[in-house]
Structures are given as structure tokens and as C-alpha cells.
Symmetry: C2
Subunit: 351 residues, 2 copies
């Protein structure tokens, strides 16, 4: 297969982890006889510094023309604590999601037997946890109208959802549930929000088309609690943009490191693959960032093009590396490997 892959390393540890995924994907191409073309482009703080634009036209163009986007991470502290900054790295990511129509962000959460004791949660609570979060990605309060009053003394953000926006991701989530344990949990705040009530109503209607899937509902506050109390109860979680952001970061503690969690963002035409962790600025350039989340995102990229054997080879390599403790310091406290060494090891296993 021929694939044109846009590589957007972004900020902080983005470049160093993405480099490992590219290495791994190249090894896959070699072994399975594919032709993957990689084109780099700027995004985020890196792009602001050079071009004063967190998502330069050339980058967006490249993404449109590519079959898939491999994304690193975004964000820089110099913008976070400057409420007056007019241009922010995150705008690049948000615009990219919107422009590419990536309405569904898919975040699998699982555990590794070998890492069960790394989790802050007790072994017996998390054994067997295996869920996937379907987070709506191009709507809600992230993209509603926002403004600050002239005098700077008040501000507002609008959360808006249409039936159509809910429909399309709900169908994907129900289909995923059918391939899994056939349970779907809608997380909302229907006792307070009008948009949540629309979610609940719409999803209940769609559920009729998937009679084999059991549907239940949780308020987001309760879900945040249940995620830790009893994570094995979840199969597919469906939720809106902001709740998905919070819950998926929270869920990352289950597996013992956020450095393990991958995601795919899909739309009708495009698809992007990125770790769920951030740009982790304090770690930049130190060789301590875990490349696994990015590498597993690359595996999701392969899945997306039905390269299942290839994706499994990548996941298998990750499992072996964890088994043998060839891991960065978030996981291997005593005898850790650098980001690059982990990447080399994974590459070697595949080649």
C-alpha cells in the first residue's frame, strides 16, 4: 500500500517521540512491502515562533493532501500564563481538528499485566480494565462562540451541539461496541445542561438501531468517580468534547502511565493519530519521554487502513518491550532506557 503521511511533531517532547513512530512505521513499510511517504510540517508554538501562525497554510494543505496525519504534541508554558496572548499553540491543534473534520477522537485504555503494580490503583481494581472512549472532537464548548467583554471584566464560552454532530459519532461508538463487549455508556450532565439532554435523547433514538448493545447513562461527576472505583465496568464510553478531555486524561492513570495512551481522530475524509499526553515541556530534549503512546498511535493509523497484521506487529513489539522492561523512566524507574533507545528496540523487533 502507498500512504502519504503528514508528520506534525509540534512542541515540547513532540519531535522526539514522533521520530520514534516514524522509525517504526518505516520498519513496517520495509517488512510488509509498503510505500510510506513522510512529509514534515510545522504546528503549534514551533510554528508561531517561525511564522506567527500556529497552523500555517502550508501545514493545513499538506494534511489535506495526505492520507493521514501523525501528530506529536502541542503547547508551551510561555502562552499558558499569559491570558493576553492573542495567538496560542493550541489554536493550531483545534483548527486542524476542525478543518479536517475530525469529529471522533478514539482513546483506548487498557492495562498490561506487567505494569499492573505501576498504577496508583490497586491491582484488583484494574485487572481486566479495557475500555475505549469516544470523545466528540469538533463541537461543544471548544468551538462555540467565545468572547471577552470590551472592559475585560467578563467572558463567555458557548457550548453548542446539533443532533447531526451527535449522530455521527454515536454511530461509530455503537459500531465499536458491537465489535467489543456490547456495552455503551453515555456520559453527560443531563440534570443540568440542555446540550446533555439533546445528547441523551439523540443517543436513545440511535440505540434502537443497535438492539444488541446495552446502553446506560452516567452523569459526568459520577463517571469521574466510577472511572477509579470500578474501571472494569466500562466498555465503550461516549461523551462530548470537554467531558471526554477530562475523563480520558483521568483514565490514563489506570494503565500506570499516560505515556502509553494512543488516540485516533477520524472524520469522513481525514484521520489523525496522536498520543493523548501533552507536550511535557519540562522533559524536552532529555530523552526521558515515553514514545509508546505515539508508537501505538501509529498502530492505530495502520488499523485505520486495514493493515491489521502490521498494526498487530507494532502492538506486539510494544508488549515485548514492556515485558522486557525496555522502557523509559516513567515505567522503568531503576534502569531506564532513553526515548531513542526504546524507539530503536521497537524498530528492531519489527524489522
Amino acid at each position: 500500500m502507498k500512504l502519504k503521511i503528514a508528520v506534525l511533531p509540534g512542541d515540547g517532547i513532540g519531535p522526539e517521540i514522533t521520530q520514534q513512530s516514524v522509525k517504526v512505521l518505516k520498519a513496517v513499510a520495509d517488512r510488509f512491502d509498503h510505500e510510506f511517504q513522510f512529509d514534515d510540517a510545522l504546528v503549534g508554538a514551533a510554528a508561531i515562533d517561525l511564522l506567527e501562525n500556529p497552523l500555517p497554510e502550508a501545514t493545513l494543505d499538506l494534511c489535506h493532501k495526505s492520507d493521514a496525519v501523525l501528530f506529536g504534541a502541542i503547547g508551551h508554558p510561555k502562552y499558558d500564563n499569559n491570558p493576553d496572548a492573542k495567538v496560542r499553540p493550541e489554536q493550531g491543534l483545534l483548527k486542524l481538528r476542525k478543518e479536517l473534520g475530525l469529529f471522533a477522537n478514539i482513546r483506548p485504555v487498557r492495562t498490561y499485566e506487567k505494569l499492573l503494580d505501576q498504577s496508583p490503583l490497586k491491582r484488583e481494581r484494574i485487572t481486566g480494565a479495557d475500555m475505549v472512549i469516544y470523545r466528540e472532537l469538533t463541537g461543544g464548548i471548544y468551538f462555540g462562540e467565545k468572547s471577552t467583554a470590551e472592559d475585560g471584566k467578563s467572558a463567555q464560552d458557548l457550548c453548542f451541539y446539533s443532533e447531526e454532530e451527535i449522530d455521527r459519532i454515536a454511530h461509530l461508538a455503537f459500531k465499536a461496541a458491537q465489535q467489543r463487549r456490547k456495552k455503551l455508556t453515555l456520559v453527560d450532565k443531563a440534570n443540568v445542561l440542555e446540550t446533555s439532554r439533546l445528547w441523551r435523547k439523540t443517543v436513545k433514538t440511535i440505540a434502537k438501531e443497535y438492539p444488541d448493545v446495552e446502553l446506560d447513562f452516567l452523569f459526568v461527576d459520577n463517571a469521574a468517580m466510577q472511572m477509579i472505583l470500578n474501571p472494569t465496568q466500562f466498555d465503550v464510553i461516549l461523551t462530548e468534547n470537554m467531558f471526554g478531555d477530562i475523563l480520558s486524561d483521568e483514565a490514563s492513570v489506570i494503565g500506570g502511565s499516560i505515556g502509553l495512551l494512543a488516540s485516533a481522530s477520524v472524520g469522513n475524509k481525514n484521520a489523525m493519530f496522536e498520543p493523548i499526553h501533552g507536550s511535557y515541556p519540562q522533559a524536552t530534549g532529555k530523552g526521558i519521554a515515553n514514545p509508546v503512546a505515539s508508537v501505538l498511535s501509529a498502530a492505530m493509523l495502520l488499523d485505520h487502513f486495514d493493515l491489521v497484521e502490521e498494526a498487530n506487529a507494532v502492538r506486539k513489539a510494544v508488549e515485548v518491550s514492556i515485558q522486557l522492561n525496555v522502557c523509559t523512566q516513567d515505567i522503568n524507574k531503576e534502569n531506564h532506557y532513553t526515548t531513542e533507545k526504546v524507539g530503536d528496540f521497537l524498530e528492531g523487533l519489527i524489522a
Copy 2:
């Protein structure tokens, strides 16, 4: 001291737990020679059933005329899954908060040595965790304009904040930090939301008046992760309404049971005290609900009127009950006591 206390038991387990707190407060009045007058009133689903109004005028009147409100719980499943219900129990609670001007919801989270092993988190992660969450309670997306389109095909909720709304709770939170470990963490999503940037800017300005308090910032997704990874890092958390709702329920897992967590909601004139748990409909009438969250809310009521010795007596009684395992089944799995028996025991310790 003379205190007029409005008692709003509400729905589900609300009545049975509130009854225990009233018992405890009566014992306090006897022992310390105070005069507490208790007046019951309807709220929530209970009020809808009888008067088609989740917050009847008479109830609101009573609250206005009282020195404090002791609140049980609110919510009933028959409304949750009916997106078309026009009147909902929760509206009663939200209106009450708004009408009484209860802008700050204060939620302390701590652990009990005896219960450390009850937590889903490992002992070493939570030992020493002791934080208090200041949640803004009368603003944000809870109270902004909401609507559903005529055709029912879209909906919106507005998140609005003014500097003034942020100011008044921020001052309370900084003052609390001064009395504690002098650290304040603002949780927001300033990389996406305009309102969060207003929070960050306003809180940074106020911080100058409290030079002895160390201020830091966390994005809400990261905070949801840090809450589990490393809860001892937090002292005072300050946040907006929705984030506070989610984070405080999440934080409840640290102590081992949500049945232990109390809250105070304060404004310029009124004050209300309620457990952070919900109405737990499945448990209603079974005698299994933990009354401790409500009893500790009553202790916060006593604190509020500077009855510190009295509040400490209540907290001490709770500690003794936990020490002796005189606990409901959420905590004492093998040999549990009923809601009422726990109440009797606490009453006995105080009297």
C-alpha cells in the same frame, strides 16, 4: 447560641441521613447549652410530587428566614432519563443556591488512617492527602442561558463569568490557604476557554494581596489525572462550577467512600450544608446509607457559627465511630451497622 435551622431532606436517602444529623445537632445543643430550632421543608422530587415545584415558595421563604440550611440530597431516576421533563428535582437545588447567593461550595477531602486500605488507591499514594476544594457555585455553565432550538435539533448552554464572581470566591480560597499549607491551585482550561483565561487573569491579580500563598495552575484534564496520581500535592483547589463538580466527586475516591464527604455552601448572608453524595435512589429506605457525610456537614455548620468546640466534638465522634468500625456497609463490609444505628452511636458519643 440560638440558631434557626431549615432542614431540607429532599430525595432518595436524603431524609434518612439528614435525620441522623438533626439527632447529632440536638445532642450538641443539649450538651453545650444552645437553642437550635429545626424546621422541615420540601425540596426536589418530593416537592414536585406534592406541589409540582422543586423549590416551593414556602421552602425558599423558610431558608431566607433561617440562619442555616441543612440539605439532604436531590434527584430521582424517573426524571433523569426523560429529556422532555420540564420540571426536574435538580432545578430546586440550583435555584436554592442562586436565590440564597451561595457562591462558594467548600469541599474538604481527607483520609482516615483506619480507612486507608478501603481506597481504590494504594495506601502510599494517599497517606496524608488533605485538601479542600473551593468550587464556584452560582455561575458558569450551570446558570448561563440555555436553550433548545424550536425543531429540537440543536441545543446550547452558555458559560459566563464576571470578574466579580471570580473575585469573591478567590478571596475566600486564598484566606483558607493562609490558614492551611499556603498553596492554592487554580484549575481551569485556559488553553481553550475564554472564561478560564478570565479566571487566570483575575486570580493572578488577587494573588498579589496574598504574597504568603503559593499560586499554581493546572489544566482540568491534567488535574483529573494528578488528583489520582499524587493527591498529596494539593492544599486548596480553586475552580469554576462544572470543573468543581467533576473534580470533587473524583476526589471522593481518595478517602474510600463518597459517604464521608461533607460540604458547606456559603454566600454573603446565607449558608447551606450538604453531603456531596447524591440521592442514591437504589439505597432508599434500606438503612444502608452512610450518614457521616451529612453529619460532617452539620459539623461545618457549627464551624460556620464559630462553634469550634462543638464542631470538633462532632468530628471526634465520627473518628471514634470509624476507629471502632461502627460504620455502614460502604465501609464495614462484614458487620455493618444501619444508618440509624450509626446516628444513634454518634448521638450517644456527644451526649
